[in-house]
């Protein structure tokens, strides 16, 4: 016998101070019992008007601000902006700088994915262990960046026309050691999470993004690839020297939370492959950029790169002045979170946390 008890709809505010919303995201959930019938994400708590600031900074000065967009993968934001600026100014970085950029971008992808999978596991109840393991390994990456550029979070390492500091033999050795170390370590994550039955059952079939849905909502990055769309800017519109490396683009089958997790694990393996090849082939030269140049950008340009969260684009309009006329940043988290309301409709609250965690959003990038 089936009885349906009609209860009053309840509005629950989840966030902005909530451990599972990964920053200051505020979700207004309409609940029917445990089931979510509607969801409205409220964003803007971390708004720092970075796009407006760009209109009052020269291109060189703006690079430190891109660090503050996606603070878990600052190198990739540095890279995206510098590539856009270089495209506008018709510059090209020296070959050694291009290889160094690939290496740091991929290292940062690993660090970012580590945090993504571990906080996702934490949302599902694997409270401390995966997070501490990920922090331990992320620390090794961050230490490499610290030696390269002197900061652990806001690097300002990739500059227009090159990078801030050269690779020393010591740092090169540390990177090579890290690659060997981390290749073994991923197996630990597999044992800890990938093969764990609770984790699997808990995340399979949750928050399914179908292929069409992903394309309609412009979901990008690992979340798109988990739905089976083989789209990676590094492969399909190669920038830097990515076309010289041999790597695969992992795709998922169902587009559920589990697939998004497993795509990230596989991407870390691919990143290691890229780093290894780049370290082997890095040419000699002087990659250090001069910062005392005055650029007067004119014209407009759009450049996109593959950040750990997806398709990161910078659109710069210059009118021949030192300051750009307008800068627009297309951030992957912003379009990924747009898919959230449709994604979690009909789930219960604990599964919504799972779907949100698997999208891997960074609020600094959404609000910017």
């Amino acid at each position: 016998m089936k009885t349906t008890m009609v209860t009053e709809e309840l509005i629950v505010n989840m966030g902005p101070q909530h451990p599972s919303t990964h920053g200051v995201l505020y979700l207004e959930l309409k609940l029917n019992g445990e089931i979510i019938t509607d969801c409205r994400p409220h964003i803007g708590y971390l708004h720092r008007s970075i796009e407006k600031i760009a209109e009052n900074r020269s291109l060189v000065q703006f690079v430190p601000f891109t660090d503050r967009l996606d603070y878990l993968a600052s190198m990739n934001d540095n890279l995206g902006f510098c590539l856009a600026a270089e495209k506008l100014l018709q510059l090209e970085a020296p070959a050694r700088a291009q290889y160094l950029r690939v290496i740091v971008a991929e290292l940062n992808r690993i660090a970012s994915h580590l945090l993504a999978i571990s906080t996702f596991a934490q949302d599902l109840g694997a409270y401390a262990t995966p997070l501490f393991f990920a922090m331990r390994d992320r620390q090794k990456v961050v230490q490499i960046f610290d030696e390269l550029c002197g900061q652990r979070l806001t690097y300002n390492y990739i500059r227009i026309g090159g990078v801030a500091g050269d690779l020393t033999p010591d740092i090169a050795r540390t990177i090579n050691e890290f690659v060997l170390y981390f290749r073994k370590m991923i197996n630990d994550y597999d044992d800890l999470l990938t093969h764990n039955i609770i984790f699997k059952v808990r995340s399979k079939g949750i928050g399914i993004i179908s292929k069409e849905f992903a394309l309609d909502y412009a979901v990008t990055g690992p979340s798109l690839r988990a739905s089976g769309v083989k789209w990676d800017v590094r492969k399909d519109e190669p920038y830097l020297v990515y076309d010289k490396f041999d790597f695969d683009v992992p795709v998922g089958a169902n587009g559920d939370a589990w697939d998004r997790y497993s795509v990230r694990i596989q991407e870390m393996r691919e990143s290691l492959r890229i780093i290894e090849q780049a370290m082997g082939a890095i040419p000699e030269g002087d990659p250090v950029a001069k910062v005392n140049k005055v650029f007067r950008p004119s014209g407009e340009v759009y450049m996109r790169t593959e950040s750990p969260r997806g398709d990161l684009g910078f659109y710069i309009v210059g009118t021949g002045d030192v300051f750009p006329y307008r800068l627009k940043i297309r951030t992957p988290s912003f379009s990924n979170i747009a898919a959230l309301p449709a994604l979690i409709k009909g789930l219960n609250v604990s599964d919504a946390v799972c779907a949100l965690g698997s999208l891997d959003i960074v609020m600094g990038e959404i609000d910017r």
Binding site: V63, P64, D191, L192, I197
Partner: protein, 152 residues
């Protein structure tokens, strides 16, 4: 029915594997350090507080112009005979600084640099917003000098 038992068995094995991974870390060397008692060594290129080698500065203002947050401010006087500029004051606002390192990279004489100080604490806000870089003992009582850094 048989599948159920297989599932249960696989579940137990998978959880046991996780325990093995966790258990193994009991025999590893800890990666953490006992922070307030033990200080981590900072790296060679560590970017701490802005500092100045006063005798090297030629008052070219390049650092002031490139600073994205306008944290630096200097005034200079020009000697009417030799046409040489001499520093009069050099003020650093640590509250605005984002430790980007652009000033030390742009300086033609390597006069301004980011030193090895970290863990900097002040009693008064006004002390942070106007640090006189020309005073030799400006950082005498604040912060911890990073052990590993080779910069003077």
């Amino acid at each position: 029915m048989f599948k159920l038992f297989v599932d249960i068995w696989q579940g137990i094995v998978s959880i046991f594997k996780g325990f093995v991974v966790t258990g193994r870390s009991m025999f590893r060397k800890p990666v953490t350090i006992q922070y307030p008692l033990q200080k981590a060594a900072m790296t060679q290129r560590f970017r701490g507080m802005a500092d100045l080698r006063v005798e090297k500065c030629i008052s070219c203002l390049q650092c002031v112009r490139i600073c994205p947050t306008a944290a630096l401010d200097l005034t200079s006087v020009t000697n009417p005979e030799t046409k040489k500029k001499a520093l009069e004051s050099f003020c650093f606002n640590a509250e605005l600084c984002c430790f980007c390192g652009l000033c030390q990279d742009v300086c033609p004489t390597k006069a301004i640099f980011l030193n090895a100080l970290y863990e900097v604490a002040y009693y008064k806000r006004s002390d942070v917003t106007a640090i006189d870089l020309m005073a030799p003992d400006k950082y005498a009582h604040v912060g911890v000098l990073a052990a590993g850094k080779g910069k003077p």
